[in-house]
Symmetry: C2
Subunit: 279 residues, 2 copies
């Protein structure tokens, strides 16, 4: 099923001539700091440490480490400082890559990445995973370029979710993480929304699950990472699709019996499987 | 290029009727403990923590966190215990999945995963990445099934590396991580090697780079995870291919000028790119 989602997402990406990239899952603490993620989402951070590069520390760890069934029991003083975290999204790494550059033209890319958000006791079942797969299509360019592509994205997502035969809605959300009150004040009177969520209904609970989002960051990342285009800070926007949640919503709505799936989706899944097996 | 490697690996996997799976990058501390990885490779471990689920801790972190350009500056007492680590390989998760089961038949699967090994100051350039992509084909079954498939794997890898036009060797290594002295004593007289490395030459340094390995674990994981087949602990084996290293070796040997690449490999790369764009 992921292969099928992938083929749909790639088809969307080609409409924007989006180059395929891939990024590491680790992200530097300084990058998340500049994205304002550390201070705004402390509860969902995943801090990565290793052991200190000291022979005695390593030996003592090897001698004494054990598990209590759930946690590692070890001397925490042996842990290194935190240099990297697990990336909560794909696009941050792209903005970091473009840091201090002037783009000759607006640019679209696409990447599939593993993303990580700690969700405490909400981490049960497939609705919220600690570790999930996210496909993004990312735009960097002047304001008009990003807004125009966002409008096309909304259309393409509508086609895609219709092909899946899903009950869904695309609605504006008021929690763009990066927006400080200044950005919100500036954005709302001008009538452009910063975040649209793709919400699918889960029949078993009646709740709505965000299976993706379409974001417009204004020039927040352009300013944070000094990315210029056409003489000013670049504007950015992205589509995110969470594949595990998409699969959950699809199976929750249509069931596991393939004969009851919408025809277009069944054909897509079969075709994707055939492509893989033929490779 | 990764797409091309993927199509080759999938072609190999279909010869074994290996089902496609995918696994999270996080792995429980208890699983790595049972794989003897904690005690044998302390230096390469990546420990994942989050902040303690306490409002005061989160608030204090948000207020005071900063970066010194490289490390996170924060109150380490606010960090949780370590429940998960970043997985250093793909197959551990599969053995864990099969835990306490009796297989009706031998079974082959394949998965692509992100793997993580901390390598200290060796983490420079592409030869050793902290965070890399590994494709595995994994066999679980009786001894004869695993050994026979291993022989086929060696042939298929030879064909694959020949198609890439690489200068390489497949040679036995003496450091299977899981083997205690008993296993080594038992294995060597019987004349079966536990680990073959796929080594490609890097012309710029003259050194050999391990781009993959073919491993036979005897019944180590079968015993550790209580996996049974045909009335005894299952034997396991796997092929691992590291895509970033494979790409590095290919480019180091053939250069970036596509017209000088071996014909079969160029055709493969172009065909893989065409498949993606056509999707």
């Amino acid at each position: 099923m992921t292969e099928y989602f992938e083929s749909c997402a790639r088809r969307m990406a080609t409409k924007f001539h989006a180059e395929a990239h891939s990024f590491p899952s680790l992200i530097g603490a300084d990058v998340l700091d500049r994205c304002r993620y550390l201070k705004n989402f402390p509860a969902s951070l995943n801090l990565v440490s290793h052991l200190r590069e000291n022979y005695a520390v390593l030996q003592e760890f090897a001698r004494s480490v054990r598990c209590d069934g759930r946690h590692l029991i070890h001397d925490r003083a042996g842990m290194s400082e935190v240099e990297c975290l697990l990336s909560p999204s794909v696009c941050f790494r792209w903005y970091r890559w473009l840091e201090r550059s002037t783009l000759p033209d607006p640019r679209a890319i696409t990447a599939l990445g593993k993303c990580f958000r700690y969700e405490s006791s909400n981490l049960s079942g497939l609705e919220r995973l600690w570790d999930f797969s996210m496909r993004e299509i990312i735009f960097v360019g002047p304001e008009a370029y990003v807004l125009q592509n966002r409008a096309v994205l909304i259309e393409l997502c509508t086609e895609f979710l219709d092909e899946l035969g899903l009950a869904y809605e695309i609605s504006t959300a008021t929690d763009p993480f990066f927006a400080d009150s200044y950005a919100l004040q500036a954005a709302y009177p001008q009538g452009f929304e910063l975040k649209y969520e793709l919400l699918a209904t889960l029949p078993y609970s009646g709740k709505k699950l965000a299976i993706g989002s379409i974001n417009y960051h204004q020039d927040f990342f352009g300013r944070s990472f000094l990315i210029e285009v056409e003489g000013g800070p670049a504007h950015t926007g992205c589509l995110t699709l969470g594949y595990e949640r998409l699969a959950l919503a699809f199976l929750a709505q249509h069931g596991v019996d393939e004969t009851r799936w919408p025809k277009a989706a069944l054909g897509g899944v079969q075709n994707a499987a055939w492509q893989v097996n033929r490779a």
